[in-house]
Amino acid sequence: MSGRRPSLFWAACAVAGALLVAFVVLPAASMIAGAGAGFLGEALRQGDIRRSLWLTVSAALIATAIAFVVGVPLAYVLARRDFVGKRAIEGLIDLPIVFPHTAAGIALLTVYGRDGMVGRLLAPFGISFTETVAGIVLAMLFVSLPFLVDTARETFALVDERYEHVARTLGSSPGGAFLRVTFPQAWRGVLAGAVLMWGRGISEFGAVVILAYNPKVISVLTFERFEGFGLRAAQPPAVLIVIVAFVVFLAVRAVLLPRRGRLRKGAP
């Protein structure tokens, strides 16, 4: 092999990578630049944007919390156990990824809408999923659940099951072994999945707009402003949510990536 080939190869990789990064960064940078100086303060002074931002962030957080409670145990079972129908369940969990999101909204409406099977059952208790926060959470949960379950499942699978075996012989119950041995080794991956899910949730439009146009999440508000008042009016909420998501992602990455010193000490 000639000595030049590897450097050419790496140069080609670098160029391809740079093109991709530019492709991702340029629209976001252009949008932020187009919004003009002082847009942040201006945007936050507008009540509808403030309310919409809070609604979006909190609804996505609630959806993530629900998915954490029900999805992490499922991910653990899928990572550890073989059973009939396991492949089918894994496929079904991933189904929302391939669903067109407006179709997901329609599907949710047929079950949880006023005339839907579950919607009718819950209506007497005052629980409604149309035009409510609950509907927004439901839509976000549906479309973003696979991101948490899949990431958590893969992370649990990476933790050697024999750690749990050792923990069992040391007196831990199966639940104790999970909480004290497996989860502490897998929490970064689970958290990464939760953040991915939350990020997917705050960006959801299609399913949310079908189930709950109001109250408006930030994606719906941006769309409404764009339709009614044009690009300039749509930029503040769009830029705001991008910045919020970016800051959260950066903060979580700082937590997820082990520091050099901790790496040297062998911390997971």
Partner: protein, 355 residues
């Protein structure tokens, strides 16, 4: 007594057993066998982390077959130690002492300190208590894993190839520690390995498992010198295994299927199908040795190949059949052994084992 009663295990289409094994209290038992024999499955079944298909596991008379692992009172050490990487050495040991949480505050944690210190001193890891597992050597990890396994005071210690991932120096120290735990402390041990050297260094009772079947249980020289089956003989390193039948009218002589006969010490038991000779029991003689052709079990043959393996080499001699003899480097040089030359082989009758 640790007893396995007609124990059968199945995993991924591979079956082990049914097998019966009794390990007296305080005994250091080694379950020996080639890779893929099912040794670890047996260990896991005894530990309670793998379900058994049929049969029973009894620990000191108590049937623990359906008992969860956490109530069996067994310690478990794997080949790679498997220390919990998110805990320090001290926290790993404390886990076995019942530390509810790694960073349990206050009185409870202080109460565990003497226990951790005692176990650390016993296993020689006192200096390592604040370290993380990733910074330890293979031998240090195994010592900590032992300390952790001993922490709950197990009735039985299960070891899965605990010495195979450590260097020679650390291995000797660990072997001493394991023997001490068994002899001095009376701990019952079931140690699984495919490594004969590791097994012989620590074991007192040997059980040989091949292809999921327990072939033989006995002391060192039983399994080494008097293998019960051809499979045990081969696993124990007897590389001369020939189909054979007693010579009609002379039951102390075996006729080898490939040709020739070998005298054995005493009459062959009924049903003999094979003659087994260990390479280290054969003496290679120079070609001009005066007893060639006339001595008992002295055979002449041509050297086909010399397989050098350091201090001891294996010389293949075509008699026929093809014999393999272990020869030291000194003998190899002195006799000028090389492929193509004629040599004599002396196979003592006492070294021919009829199976």
């Amino acid at each position: 007594m640790i007893s396995l009663r007609a124990l059968a295990i199945e995993a991924g289409g591979f079956g082990v057993g049914p097998l019966d094994l009794d390990v007296p209290v305080g005994e250091y038992a080694v379950l020996l066998g080639p890779s893929g024999a099912g040794k670890t499955l047996v260990l896991e079944a005894v530990a309670g982390i793998r379900p058994v298909r049929t049969g029973a596991v009894l620990i000191r008379g108590e049937d623990v077959t359906r008992m969860p692992a956490e109530r069996r009172g067994v310690g478990l050490v794997f080949q790679d130690g498997l220390l919990f990487p998110h805990l320090t050495v001290a926290q790993n040991i404390a886990y076995g002492l019942g530390a509810a949480w790694p960073a349990w505050p206050g009185r409870r944690r202080r109460a565990l300190r003497p226990g951790v210190a005692r176990l650390a001193a016993e296993t020689g890891v006192t200096e390592l208590l604040d370290r993380r597992p990733a910074t330890l050597s293979g031998g240090e990890r195994q010592r900590v894993a032992l300390a952790r396994a001993l922490a709950p005071g197990p009735r039985l210690l299960l070891l899965d190839e605990p010495l195979s991932a450590v260097d020679a120096d650390a291995r000797e120290g660990l072997q001493d520690l394991l023997r001490r735990l068994s002899v001095d402390d009376g701990l019952t041990v079931l140690h699984v390995t495919h490594d004969l050297g590791e097994a012989f260094a620590v074991g007192g009772l040997f059980a040989v498992l091949v292809a999921g079947r327990l072939q033989q249980v006995g002391a060192l020289y039983d399994v080494l010198r008097r293998p019960a089956t051809v499979e045990v003989a081969r696993f124990m390193g007897a590389r001369n295994v020939f189909e054979a039948r007693p010579v009609p009218g002379d039951s102390s002589r075996l006729a080898l299927a490939p040709g020739g006969t070998l005298r054995i010490s005493g009459p062959a038991p009924a049903g003999v199908r094979h003659a087994v000779v260990r390479p280290d029991d054969i003496t290679v003689l120079p070609e001009k040795y005066p007893s060639i052709g006339v001595g008992e079990n002295v055979l002449a043959g041509r050297v086909r190949r010399v397989i050098c393996a350091g201090a001891t080499s294996v010389v293949e001699v075509d008699v026929p059949p093809l014999f393999r003899a272990a020869v030291s480097a000194r003998e190899l040089e002195a006799l000028g052994i090389e492929p193509g030359i004629m040599v004599g082989l002396h196979v003592p009758a006492a070294a021919v084992h009829a199976v």
